[in-house]
Each structure stands twice: as structure tokens, then as C-alpha cells.
């Protein structure tokens, strides 16, 4: 059994172990251990991956494992990773680990909470390791559905509405996706070969252009819904605002990346001609996403809404960068996924912790928090700076790469879109600094705030884990960049060959 299967096995075992716990302390301890092991495993995977690569292994996918599952359909349990998946797996493990500690004090039905959360993560891990479209789709849906219960039961505000909206919109996306996948499957046969769901095999042939024109938009939109593609992003602000802390972290931090990842790994990689033909539509939509999300964040009063709109903006940038279809921009897109995943998780964790003290998320009812909870406030500022792209933190590396890549296109359309998207940097600075100013600085608005205690140990652990990763990427982006770049080559080649660029 390969190392990759353990990524799905460990969450499963953790869930079973939680079932046998007696009280809430045991349950959270077991969850922490399980996700801790998962984090170590992800670390080992990164290390193993880098060693393999430096040893000169140039296979596209490493640590592959292939077990026949349904011979009639040629469905396999096929797993394997390249640098991008490894990076995403590491991101997921970090965010999950931080998320468990951020929800350390969940009281209500706490076992069920951890079970749902870990079940969701196992779907995410499974998605990133899958090479077979069928299992990939299976894990994709598995990652979405626990969301309903997580938001519906443990959420705040109009949670039932938000949970239903989020679930239906995401599953609606997967309805399109399913047709897209079936369409790819039906056109996947190489000469004399049976139909296949295997990504790598399908990439070797080219799907007829007529089929691509029909199935590319279905697949792209299917994944795009999860990547908060305008105008299908509306689940995101409501969903994130209503979700409990750890769920917001995991959802904005990791689940939305499933969308971006799927967009290039499935839609663009397998159907490059259609991707080129239709890119302009989606470039316009993502440009709107980026700018609209940023402006949306300016006018919101609720901390979570601010961050949710900011996620729409940042995830829009991911898909925008992917659609630029050159190496630099795509490299930036992956960096942006990881950077945004860490950043937004940190934001949501902090918002949860602040909310736990102030019991309000309205920024106008708060103020001067820097004086009473300095640790959390400082971390908040750092996260904010990362988000607006300050050099030295992960956000800068990612956005810089994206814009450099996007400017490599010389035609007017791409130039204009890029310039519009670039303005979002300024707007981002506005909403981040506005929140920092109102929330953290200034006089203390409420007498009760003086009694606040600063971060407890588990809160510190949760935030520092994320913060370290953000700083690490910001200061030494090269190791991550190298890991990604090698894996982007086949995708770029596939995209380039078809247009003769």
C-alpha cells in the first residue's frame, strides 16, 4: 500500500477512533492526534517527493498505485501525485490541523463535529491524490456534503439558509461536472484501447473539438462554482459567514481550491482547444470576480463577510491566472491557491477567536482590540499584510508572479483585463487597512473588552502554524515554486501544442 492511500486511510481511522471516545476531551484529543499524524505524513510526502525528484525521477506522477475497480467501465482506484498535488495536500494538512485547534472549545455535539470535519478533509485528500476521474468525482462530492451538516448544526446567523444554498449550489456545480466527466469518458478511447477515466491516459489523446466545445464549459463551470466564479459565487459569502470557524477555514482555505485545481487538472488539461477558444468568456467573468469581490469587501460590516468577499476576489485571481495559460501565470495561480489558503484560514481562525470574545462580528461595534488582545491583533495585522501583498509574505510572491505572467500576453484584451485585475491590489489594501484601523486601533469601544484574555495555548498553536507557513513561503518561495514548476510542464505543453504557440 502506497503512502498516498494512507492520506485517506488515516482520516477514516480517526473517524472510527472518535466513535469510540467517551467525552469531548477525548474526542478532540483523538482528532488532534489524527490530524497531527496526517500533518506529519504530509510533511514526509513533501520530503519524499523532493528526494525522488532530485534523484532524477522525471515521471509525471509519482507514488502511483493502480487497482482495477470496475472492469466494465475501466474504473480504477488510481492515485499518484505531482508537485501541485503534493503542495495542495500539505496545505490541506496544515489547515486541517490548525482548524482542529481553532475549534478546540466546540461544546455542542462535539464528536459529531469532529467526525464531519475529518470526513470532509478525507474527501479533499482523496480528491488531490486521484488520477481517475470517477474516484476524483466521488471524493469531490464527499468533500461537499458534510458541509451541510457542519454549517446547519454548528453555524451562526441564518445558518439553515446558508447551508442549503451552499450545498445546492455546489452540488449543482457537480451536476454539470458529472455530465462533463461522462463526456470526457465517452471520448477517451485511444485507437484500439477501451474507454478510460484515467487523467494521464486521456491527456495522451485529443478529444474531438466538437465534444470539447460542449463538455469544456460544463466541466469548467462545474469546478468553477466551487472556485467562486462570478456569477456563481453567491454561496460563498453566506456560507462562510454562517459556518463555524474551522469550517470556514477549511472551506475557504482548501475546498475552494478544489475548484481551481479541477479547472486546470481536468477541464483545461484534457480539453485544451476548447479552453483556448472559450478562455475569453471566463477571463471576463474572473476579472469581474476579482474586482467585484474586492469592492464588495469594502462595504461589508461583518468581519466574516469581508473575508468571504476577499476570498471571492482572491479565488477569482486564481482562475484568472490559470486562464492566462502560460507558465509564469499558472505558477502564480498555484502559489496564489496555497498562499490564499493559508491566509484566509488564518483570517477565519482569528475572526472566530475574536468573535468568541466579543460576541459580535460587526466591526463598528469593536475597536481598540490591539490594547486588550495584542497577540491576536498582531497576527491579524500580519495576515492582513500578507493578504494585501506585502513583500516577505506569501501573498506578494503569488500575486507578483500572476501579474508578471499575465502581462506576457501582448494583445489588448489580455492587457486590459490584466490592468483591471491589477487595480484590485489597491482596493485590497483599502479594505484590509480599513478593518485594521477600525477593529484593532483607536479607543476601546466597549468597557467589557478590558476583561478579555489574550490567546490561549491552542489558539496560539493554531495561528502560529499558519503564520509560519505564510512567512516560509514569503521568504523562500523557491522550493515551492520549483516543486510546482516541474509539474506544470506537461500541462503547459498540452496547452501550447494545440495552438501552435
Amino acid at each position: 500500500m502506497g503512502i498516498l492511500s494512507f492520506l485517506v486511510l488515516i482520516p477514516t481511522l480517526t473517524i472510527i477512533a472518535i466513535l469510540f471516545t467517551n467525552d469531548k476531551k477525548q474526542a478532540r484529543l483523538v482528532s488532534a492526534i489524527g490530524t497531527g499524524v496526517q500533518l506529519i505524513l504530509a510533511g514526509v510526502l513533501v520530503w519524499m517527493y523532493l528526494t525522488e525528484r532530485s534523484a532524477g525521477n522525471t515521471a509525471q506522477m509519482l507514488f502511483t498505485q493502480d487497482i482495477m475497480w470496475y472492469p466494465t467501465f475501466n474504473i480504477h482506484y488510481a492515485v499518484g501525485v505531482d508537485g501541485i498535488s503534493v503542495a495542495m495536500i500539505a496545505l490541506t494538512a496544515v489547515v486541517l490541523f490548525a482548524g482542529i485547534f481553532a475549534s478546540w472549545e466546540v461544546e455542542f455535539l462535539n464528536r459529531e463535529f469532529f467526525i464531519s470535519l475529518i470526513l470532509l478533509s478525507s474527501g479533499v485528500f482523496g480528491f488531490f491524490i486521484s488520477l481517475d476521474l470517477f474516484t476524483m468525482f466521488l471524493f469531490y462530492e464527499l468533500a461537499v456534503i458534510p458541509m451541510y451538516l457542519l454549517i446547519g448544526i454548528w453555524g451562526t446567523g441564518p445558518k439553515e439558509y446558508s447551508a442549503m444554498k451552499l450545498t445546492l449550489m455546489l452540488m449543482g456545480g457537480s451536476a454539470f461536472l458529472l455530465v462533463g466527466i461522462l463526456g470526457i469518458y465517452m471520448n477517451s478511447a485511444a485507437a484500439g484501447q477501451p474507454l478510460t477515466f484515467n487523467l494521464i491516459e486521456i491527456a495522451k489523446i485529443s478529444i474531438p473539438i466538437e465534444a470539447q466545445r460542449f463538455f469544456f464549459p460544463l466541466t469548467f463551470i462545474g469546478f468553477g462554482v466551487l472556485g467562486a466564479l462570478f456569477p456563481l459565487h453567491t454561496w460563498s459569502p453566506d456560507g462562510h459567514a454562517s459556518a463555524p470557524t474551522a469550517v470556514s477555514m477549511l472551506h475557504a482555505g482548501v475546498l475552494m481550491k478544489l475548484g481551481g485545481y479541477g479547472c486546470f487538472r481536468v477541464a483545461m488539461y484534457l480539453m485544451p482547444e476548447a479552453a483556448h477558444e472559450m478562455a475569453w468568456i471566463f477571463i471576463i467573468l474572473t476579472t469581474i470576480s476579482v474586482v467585484y469581490g474586492a469592492y464588495g469587501a469594502i462595504v461589508q460590516k461583518d468581519l466574516k463577510y469581508i473575508n468571504a468577499y476577499s476570498s471571492v476576489s482572491h479565488c477569482g485571481l486564481v482562475i484568472f491566472a490559470l486562464l492566462m495559460m502560460n507558465k509564469t501565470a499558472m505558477d502564480g495561480a498555484i502559489l496564489q491557491m496555497i498562499s490564499h489558503g493559508l491566509m484566509t484560514a488564518l483570517f477565519f481562525a482569528l475572526i472566530g477567536m475574536i468573535y468568541g470574545r466579543t460576541h459580535t462580528r460587526n466591526i463598528y461595534e469593536m475597536g481598540g482590540l490591539m490594547k486588550v488582545i495584542p497577540f491576536l491583533s498582531v497576527v491579524y495585522v500580519i495576515a492582513g499584510l500578507a493578504s494585501l501583498g506585502l513583500p516577505g509574505l506569501s501573498g506578494f510572491v503569488a500575486e507578483m508572479t500572476v501579474f508578471v505572467g499575465a502581462f506576457q500576453h501582448a494583445d489588448t484584451f489580455h492587457r486590459v483585463a490584466t490592468i483591471i485585475v491589477t487595480t484590485s491590489i489597491v482596493v485590497t489594501a483599502v479594505y484590509i487597512l480599513r478593518v485594521v484601523g477600525i477593529l484593532l486601533l483607536g479607543p476601546i469601544k466597549n468597557e467589557e473588552f478590558n476583561h478579555f484574555k489574550d490567546a490561549k495555548w491552542f489558539e496560539k498553536l493554531s495561528t502560529i502554524t499558519l503564520l509560519l507557513m505564510i512567512a516560509a513561503i514569503g521568504l523562500a518561495p523557491l522550493w515551492l515554486s520549483n516543486m510546482i514548476q516541474h509539474s506544470l510542464i506537461p500541462i503547459i505543453q498540452k496547452l501550447a501544442v494545440t495552438t501552435g504557440i
Binding site: 470496475y70 472492469p71 466494465t72 466521488l138 451541510y148 454539470f176 455530465v179 465517452m186
Partner: protein, 473 residues
């Protein structure tokens, strides 16, 4: 022809034997020991189910009226399993005071309908098919009216018998046209002779309309909700799962075998009916408060999904139908099992009554949730695989738009299934349904369903077995 060749009908003969033993046992047991018949019936039926899996001979009987091929045996076994679950689930209900003097009839009636379905499945001509169909329907009407002092139940029985008599009439009219034109009622002789002309089309339409009544496809579905609501819960589950499954199977067989020459035509008809059935069933289900009505409409829309396998018109479609039948048995009987327990113990059948159920009955709620997710096609439970393969079967023939409509419909259905999940897990209630201690049979029935839901999808061998046999069609 010798006695040995009757062994082709082993499934039917064993079933009849079970029914007879129960009848005789009733005569020879005293009033105090009558309760033991329930246990006896379940054991006998379980034995029958096991015997069903023994290797069986295949061939034809009565000059082609009755045929047995491996796929028939698989379908019969699947229906046996489903009926066994229904019998186990209805045990608690049959124990109640009001049923104490009449429960042996329940078994006999139920088994006769199953025998009817078996004959229908194995039919090699329209006559045997029709006989089986009637044998399957008439005892069912009696079962629907089993709660004879409840006016709804009696009403449901009358509605079922009238509408099925009506639909039988329509269907027979279609069959008589076919006989008039081609001079035969044997499936094998009809298919080469069949030609595309207006009378054949008319005959097909009549035949299809009659079958659509039985399967409760839109626009012939209006009887279903009232009958499902009126019938006792366990009968409703039997109606919606077993009898629907058998009817869909035989419809597919006849479409493949008798009408291949006009397949362009019936594919169009099935396309339209499938879209209407899925959509209208779903839209009506959203508005229901009574859970039995709710499931009635949900199973109407599920019948639409079956049609996705029918329209493929190939082995993969056939396999997908049989496979989904198995999945559907576990899913729907899981839902009905929970509804039946709650309805029998507390008399509550409305969705609002389920508020806060998770806090009082966690296991029941979890079972219900898994079963509902399976109906909606959510992984990792079996429904996901069943739906996916049905969609693949339809996509293989290029019906992508139909598949898209179907997947969108699964999302609509997910919405109303989630409403129940929401009631159980999220909503708070002032006076929730109290905790029930379930007896052995109840647990067993739900346990089989859960095991089926979890295992059927991952064990690819089940699909592969059915698939291998379907290629002999």
C-alpha cells in the same frame, strides 16, 4: 418434457411452497401459539432467499411461454432480498393487536404477488406476462386495503384496483393489436416480424401507457400518491420498491425484445416521459408534508431515473437497471424502515414531527440520513454508484442533454431529502419523538439496509456479475 424441467420454475415453486406451508401452519396452530407463525414465515422466506442463490438451470418451458435465463435469476434473487427485508420490517407492525387475527393472510397475499412478479419476469410471451402482472396486482390491492377500518386504506385499495384494471385494459388493447397484425404473442417471433407502421406505433403507445400506469410514470402517476399514503407503511414500501422494480425490468425486456425495430420511436417517447417523470415527481415532492406522500413522489421521480437505463437500449442499460434496483431496495427500504418504526410507535408521519429526532433516536436518524443520501446519489453510499452507472448507460448512447436534466433533478431531489435531514439534525423541537427501544427484527431489517448501502457500491463484484449475465440477453 418431464418433471425435471419443472425445476426451471424453482423460484416460483419454492415461493408457492412457502405460502402453502404458512397457510397450513395457521390451521394447525392454536390461538396462543399463533405469534410463532411470524417467526416461521421469516425463517421460511429467508430459506427461500438462500435457495434462490443455488445454481439453477436455464431454458424454456411450455413452448416458450416461460423462460429462465441467468439474468432472470439475479433479478428474482434481488426481489427476494427486498421482500425479505419488507417481511422483517413489517414484523413489529403485524404484532399489534389489530392485526392479530389476520396476519397470516398478509404473508400469503404478499408472497402471491411476488410469485406473480416472478412469472412476469420470466414471461416469454404476452399471455404469461399478463397473467403474471395480474397475479402481482390483485393481491396487492387487497394488501393496500389491509387496514380495513381506516377509510384511507380502503380508498387506496379501491384506487389501486380500479386504476390497474383500467391500465390493464389499455395494455391488453395494445397487445391485441400486435396479435392482430403479426399473429403471434411470443416475444421471439414478434421481434423479427415487427415493422414500422402506424398500427404498430399505436399498439406500442397503448402498451407503453399501460406499463406507465403500473410504474407510475408521469402523466400516469396520479394514483400513486393516494395509494401510497393510504396503504400501511410496509405495504407502501413493498409497492414502491419491489413491484416497481419488477415492472421496470419487464418493460425494459419487452422494449428490447419486441420493439427493437421501432427503437427510434420509443427512445423519443422514453426521453420525454423520463424528463417529465423526474421533474414533476421532484417538484411535487418538495411540497409534501406527509412523509408517505413525500416518498411516493420521490419514488415517482426515481422511476424516471430508471428510464435512463431503459433508453440506452443495451446491455449496460440493462445492467444499470438491475443494479439500481438492488441499490434502490436498500435505500428506499431504509427510509421506509425508519418511517414505519416511527409511524407504528408514535403514529407520527409528518415532517415536522421529525424535528430533533437525532437527539432522541440517533441511530434511526443516521440510518435515515444514509438512506436519503443514497436516494439522492451522494457518495460514499450505494446510490451514488447506481445513479452514476445509469447516467453512464444513457450517456453511452449520446443522450447528454437527458443526463444533464437528470443530474439537475438529483440536485432538486437533494434539496427535499436535505429537508428531512434538516428536520432530524438541525431543527429544535419542544416535544420530540421519544426514544424507542427497537426489537431484534427491526434492528435486523435496518441493519441489512445499512450493510447493503455501504457494501454494494464498493464491492464491484456485484456489478460485474450482473453485467456478465446481462450480456446474454
Amino acid at each position: 418434457m418431464n418433471l425435471n424441467s419443472f425445476l426451471l420454475m424453482r423460484h416460483e415453486i419454492v415461493l408457492i411452497a412457502v405460502a402453502l406451508i404458512i397457510l397450513i401452519a395457521e390451521i394447525f396452530t392454536s390461538e396462543q401459539n399463533k405469534g410463532r407463525i411470524r417467526g416461521l414465515a421469516i425463517i421460511l422466506f429467508a430459506l427461500n432467499t438462500i435457495i434462490g442463490f443455488f445454481p439453477a438451470t436455464t431454458g424454456t418451458l411450455f413452448g416458450g411461454m416461460f423462460t429462465t435465463i441467468p439474468l432472470h435469476i439475479v433479478v428474482k434473487n434481488i426481489l427476494n432480498i427486498g421482500t425479505l427485508i419488507v417481511l422483517i420490517q413489517s414484523n413489529a407492525w403485524l404484532k399489534t393487536e389489530e392485526n392479530s387475527d389476520k396476519f397470516p393472510e398478509f404473508y400469503v397475499l404478499l408472497i402471491s404477488t411476488l410469485v406473480g412478479m416472478f412469472y412476469m419476469i420470466s414471461a416469454g410471451d404476452f399471455l404469461m406476462f399478463y397473467l403474471g402482472l395480474e397475479l402481482a396486482t390483485i393481491p396487492l390491492a387487497a394488501l393496500v386495503a389491509y387496514d380495513r377500518f381506516r377509510s384511507q386504506s380502503a380508498e387506496g385499495g379501491i384506487k389501486l384496483i380500479l386504476s390497474s384494471a383500467f391500465s390493464s385494459g389499455i395494455m391488453l388493447y395494445g397487445i391485441s393489436m400486435i396479435y392482430g397484425m403479426y399473429g403471434s404473442i411470443y416475444f421471439d417471433m414478434l421481434s423479427p416480424a415487427m415493422a414500422m407502421n402506424s398500427l404498430t406505433i399505436l399498439a406500442f403507445i397503448f402498451f407503453f401507457a399501460g406499463m406507465a400506469f403500473k410504474i407510475s410514470l408521469v402523466p400516469f402517476h396520479l394514483w400513486a400518491a393516494d395509494v401510497y399514503e393510504g396503504a400501511p407503511v410496509n405495504i407502501t414500501s413493498y409497492l414502491s420498491v419491489i413491484s416497481k422494480g419488477a415492472a421496470v425490468f419487464i418493460l425494459t425486456v419487452i422494449l428490447f425484445k419486441v420493439f427493437p425495430t421501432i427503437s427510434d420511436l420509443w427512445q423519443k417517447v422514453v426521453w420525454v416521459i423520463a424528463v417529465m417523470t423526474m421533474t414533476i415527481g421532484n417538484l411535487f415532492a418538495i411540497r409534501q408534508q406527509n412523509l408517505k406522500r413525500f416518498i411516493a413522489f420521490s419514488s415517482i421521480s426515481q422511476a424516471g431515473f430508471f428510464l435512463l437505463g431503459v433508453i440506452g437500449g443495451n446491455e449496460m442499460g440493462m445492467t444499470a437497471i438491475v443494479y439500481y434496483m438492488l441499490v434502490y431496495i436498500f435505500s428506499n427500504l431504509g427510509v421506509f424502515g425508519v418511517i414505519a418504526i416511527i409511524s407504528n410507535k408514535s403514529g407520527k408521519e409528518n415532517m415536522d414531527d421529525y424535528n430533533g429526532l437525532y437527539h432522541t433516536n440517533p441511530m434511526l436518524s443516521l440510518t435515515m440520513m444514509l438512506a436519503l443520501f443514497s436516494l439522492a446519489g451522494i457518495p460514499p453510499v450505494a446510490g451514488f454508484f447506481g445513479k452514476f452507472f445509469l447516467f453512464t448507460a444513457a450517456a453511452q448512447k449520446g443522450f447528454y442533454i437527458l443526463v444533464l436534466i437528470a443530474t439537475i433533478n438529483t440536485i432538486i431531489s437533494l434539496y427535499y431529502y436535505l429537508l428531512i435531514v434538516k428536520a432530524m439534525f438541525i431543527n429544535k423541537s419542544e416535544n420530540p419523538i421519544p426514544y424507542f427501544k427497537s426489537d431484534f427484527y427491526t434492528k435486523l431489517g435496518l441493519g441489512i439496509c445499512i450493510a447493503g448501502l455501504v457494501i454494494v457500491g464498493f464491492a464491484s463484484g456485484i456489478w460485474e456479475t450482473i453485467s456478465k449475465l446481462a450480456f446474454g440477453m
